[in-house]
């Protein structure tokens, strides 16, 4: 598999709805995964692919910012790489709140195990208060936004370990 093919494949994965593609042939293994926080599947991320084959190459296992690269799991002290995470993203522009009303306990905290459908935050937009349900089950690894701060459409709000 040459660089061009890999490039094409990365483009394909980036555009498609799939989150992860793994190809294994002739002792060569290539894994492409859409990073839920930083989209790294761009042409720039091809640089590491030039290292000699056959080696396991993970083009997207190193996000560009340090915040999500490795997060230590507080219970097991086992490092967790971001490729296993799911992110809950903001479905709208608005203001992010961690609790239903000022002074009320937060909907969720780091370390909580939640079921799909659990309310994780409120986003206020146009004076409408929107309780956001999680699309995934799992353990809350990180809360990425400060309470009462503005959020953009599609901005990652929570990192969830689906295996947690």
């Amino acid at each position: 598999m040459d660089i061009k093919e890999i490039q094409e494949l990365i483009k394909f994965v980036a555009k498609s709805g799939v989150d992860e593609v793994t190809i294994e042939r002739d002792g060569f293994k290539l894994g492409i995964k859409k990073n839920p926080v930083n989209v790294v599947a761009s042409s720039q991320s091809l640089v590491p692919v030039t290292i000699p084959q056959p080696q396991e190459i993970k083009t997207t296992s190193e996000p560009k910012t340090a915040t999500t690269a490795v997060i230590s799991d507080s219970t097991s002290n086992k490092p967790v790489t971001s490729e296993n995470f799911k992110t809950v993203k903001s479905p709208m522009i608005g203001t992010f709140y961690r609790s239903a009303s000022p002074g009320a306990p937060p909907f969720i905290n780091v370390g909580d195990s939640i079921q799909k459908g659990k309310v994780v935050c409120v986003i206020e937009a146009m004076k409408l208060f929107n309780e956001i349900e999680s699309e995934f089950s799992g353990k809350i690894l990180k809360i990425l936004v400060e309470n009462a701060s503005p959020v953009e459409y599609d901005q990652p709000l929570f990192l969830i370990d689906p295996a947690g």
Binding site: P91, M92, I93, G94, T95, A100, S101, P102, G117, V119, I123, E124, A125, M126, K127, L128, F129, N130, E131, I132, E133, E135, P150
Partner: protein, 251 residues
């Protein structure tokens, strides 16, 4: 044509007192599959909530304080504001029965008579997969309260009409107004709702004062778009603003 049965107010509960009818109804919904349109009224709301850190203060037994739950079908988040417009117009319709064109909507969802606040709404939506699946709507209307000591910008029906109302009768009329607007919403008459809402705004086609990051400016409201953004005519340009970006001064 046979009239369809009402949705809003189809089921009705009344309790003497609670902290907040929105909160109580939301708690009930977690354990009971209440039908759409269920209304919960209380005579005394001890910790009525307004927007954010604001509270809704109401003298016991004097005013209408209630909440209603709706389960809109297939309502995309981008259209969430249209439901707000429909409900706000329902209250507007009820009030214009008494005060005609003195009633104005202060964007995005307060109701004023002669520039004083008479009613407020608190929308709490549940979002699943980019859709609004549940809407708990808290409504407070100042009815028979005689004095608003620390609230110079508040007013009641009594203050304006010098006449006490039977709250239960008024609630029936109000719910009918809300139901009619919700019917329009369910029929997908979004543009009709948007245009009527726009025309009813305080400052519609009139110079009005606004603040953007503490800087004041004057502009005319041309209406809102479906997302609820306010269209302002500033000089020669038309700009759209979200509620976070600008404040309208009034009163």
């Amino acid at each position: 044509m046979k009239r369809q049965p009402a949705i809003i107010g189809s089921h009705f509960f009344e309790i003497d007192a609670c902290d907040s009818t929105n909160r109580t109804l939301q708690e009930w919904l977690k354990t009971h599959p209440l039908p759409e349109g269920t209304v919960l009224r209380t005579h005394q709301q001890n910790a009525g909530r307004g927007q954010g850190t604001n509270t809704w203060i109401s003298e016991p037994g004097q005013n209408l304080t209630f909440s209603c739950v709706l389960f809109p079908e297939n309502l995309n988040l981008s259209h969430a504001f249209i439901l707000n417009m429909a409900i706000t117009l329902g209250i507007y319709d009820y009030l214009t029965g008494f005060f005609h064109d003195h009633v104005k909507i202060k964007w995005p969802n307060d109701l004023l008579v002669n520039q004083k606040k008479i009613a407020g709404i608190l929308f709490e939506n549940t979002i699943r997969d980019q859709k609004v699946t549940q809407s708990v709507i808290g409504i407070g209307i100042n009815m028979n309260q005689e004095k608003f000591h620390d609230l110079p910008n508040a007013v009641s029906l009594f203050v304006l009409l010098k006449q006490k109302k039977v709250l239960a009768d008024e609630l029936v009329r109000l719910l009918k107004c809300l139901d009619e607007r919700y019917r329009l919403f369910r029929e997908g008459k979004f543009e009709e709702i948007r245009v009527e809402f726009s025309r009813s705004l305080l400052g519609y086609h009139e110079p009005c004062n606004f603040f953007k990051e503490d800087v004041g400016f004057t502009a005319s409201i041309m209406g809102v778009n479906t997302e609820g953004k306010l269209a302002l005519h500033e000089g020669d340009t038309l700009n759209y603003y979200s509620h976070q970006e600008i404040k309208q001064s009034w009163g």
